[in-house]
Amino acid sequence: MAEATHDIEIRNLYKIFGPNAAKHVESVRNGMTKEELKAQHNHVLGLDDINLTIPAGKIQVVMGLSGSGKSTLIRHINRLIDPTAGELLFDGQDIAKMSETELREFRRQRTGMVFQKFALFPHWTVLENTTYGLNVRGVSRREAEERARRWISRVGLDGFEESYPNQLSGGMQQRVGLARALTNDAEILLMDEAFSALDPLIRTDMQSVLLDLQSELKKTIVFITHDLDEALRLGERIAILRDGKIIQQGTGEQIVLRPKDDYIASFVRDVRRGHVISVRTIMRKGARAETPVTLPATTLLEEAARAMTNAEVLRANIQGLDGQHLGMVTLSKCVAEMIAPDDSEDVDPEAQVA
């Protein structure tokens, strides 16, 4: 079992689409925008100076609107797209510099990929689809089928081994896509809008399947989505792309708590903030309140507010995992942060009265 141990480090990555891409990198480095590049040279700026460390064994979400460069970025990790400039470091190697043979080995041994439109092989059964990665590697048919059957069963497709993709619903097809990628037993799993084509309920289902698998597998997962709820549910780290640039990265909580600009703010506007942000991030560190309510640091704002109102108090102390005191929050700060980003000083209401 390949548990992930290596980060993927993307350094100063540029991608320009067009016949003379290399020639224009310098101008882009010096600040030429996507629109200018298009207007003046008829080249498309796909990625603009991407720097991103994708932590081993974590789910890294890349989010952005359509055309922001998400697919372009994820395709650089297994080099389905060649970079115009920059490095992609993994396990001491630069993916951008691999020879054709090295690249093929890298794809076979270290990566698996799941696609938005499933991209199953329509002329093969579920079992044949799932063994594909191992067949390409030359694993014996018996072993390949044995391993594939395990994953088919793991994604809940028992009994469908001999079905053809066109006999399955969308959700089931993507389970096949997932099984096909997992059977490779690789430490990197690339998922390009893997659930975007599915109905909302099935989509939530698949997210659960993925989280469940990941809690056991600990792969390095790069998950692309344009959906904030999905990003927040899956992403341990989230990077937001716009016009080929990463404009903010961090945990979901950090991004919802303090969107860096109006673009991101409009993204996170409709999020139930109280459902995403925990008291840890807004508490007044070190302060202590006279209150019977003590909450764990990971308590979400909604729950904290409910706990305080139920106890009819205005403040709560916050403690860490092993019970040490960390700080305190007030009900008004909780409520304010639930409504909108709130930079005002957390004033103690009791103090005001007094």
Partner: protein, 281 residues
């Protein structure tokens, strides 16, 4: 202009004199193959041939109606005394189709993989298809004289474009995302071709085979002018001597085998396509 024409004709005649012999040697295996198949079809008892052909049609089409039609048509052909000519024509069409497939599929693959090859060969194919079929007979006869082998060559030249075109088209039509998936799993170029591109192009390639068979059949009749025996010759005789019934009968026999070939290969193509059509959205 006149001098130029004479010049070219002269050069061509010299070329023929110098290399005709070698070329004939080169194409001799075709003659052997053709004789072998012809011999098998004609010398075996007609019952065996009938059963074998019906069995073949069944294997391709899995359709009893088409098989029944085949049997009735062949029985009628036998009854009206056209069995031997029909077998000659079937042998000829089979060999020509086989050769066209062996040449056409690799060329089609080459065109699908290289845009340059595509741009070079496409106009050539256009020309081959618009040229009146008789014209092919001239250089072929000059080099090889009259007979079966020149007949085969002329027929193949005439009938090969569809299989090339449709192989090319079929491979180019393979969905980009499926190909990308194969690539992402680390497939080599060869693995992509054999595992994904050719299997997914197969229904289209079969449509090409179907067209190639139809064109071979049409050309075999024309090739009777340069000594290819079979159903074409009685038609030619009928034209020269105004034997109306003879012409019509042989014409109908040609139509009958055309329909059999057509239905059998089309049904096969449809069966191949079964899993490729999306049932679920």
């Amino acid at each position: 202009m006149r001098d130029l024409r004479i010049g070219i004709d002269e050069a061509f005649r010299n070329f023929t004199r110098a290399y005709g012999e070698t070329l004939e040697q080169l194409f001799h295996p075709i003659q052997l193959l053709l004789n072998f198949i012809e011999g098998m079809l004609i010398d075996s008892s007609w019952v065996i041939v009938l059963v074998a052909l019906a069995g073949l049609v069944w294997l391709l089409s899995r359709n009893l109606k088409i098989v029944a039609g085949t049997i009735v048509a062949l029985l009628l052909i036998g009854y009206f005394g056209m069995w031997e000519d029909t077998m000659r024509t079937i042998a000829m069409v089979s060999v020509c189709t086989l050769i066209a497939v062996v040449i056409g599929i690799p060329v089609g693959i080459l065109m699908a993989r290289s845009d340059r090859a595509n741009a070079t060969i496409t106009p050539l194919l256009d020309m081959m298809q618009t040229m009146p079929s008789f014209v092919y007979l001239i250089p072929v006869v000059m080099i090889f004289g009259l007979g079966k082998v020149p007949g085969v060559i002329a027929v193949v030249i005439y009938a090969v474009p569809p299989i090339i075109r449709l192989t090319n088209l079929g491979i180019r039509q393979v969905p980009a995302d499926v190909l990308e998936a194969a690539e992402a799993f680390g497939s080599s170029g060869r693995q992509k071709l054999m595992d994904v591109q050719l299997p997914l192009a197969l229904p289209t390639i079969m449509a090409g085979v179907n067209q190639t068979i139809m064109m071979s059949l049409a050309m075999v009749v024309v090739a009777s002018m340069i000594g290819v025996r079979g159903l074409g010759q009685p038609v030619l005789q009928a034209i020269n001597n105004q034997y109306f019934t003879l012409g019509v009968m042989n014409g109908l026999a040609i139509v009958a085998i055309a329909i059999i070939f057509d239905r059998a290969t089309q049904a096969y193509g449809k069966r191949l396509q079964k899993h490729l059509e999306a049932v679920h959205g």
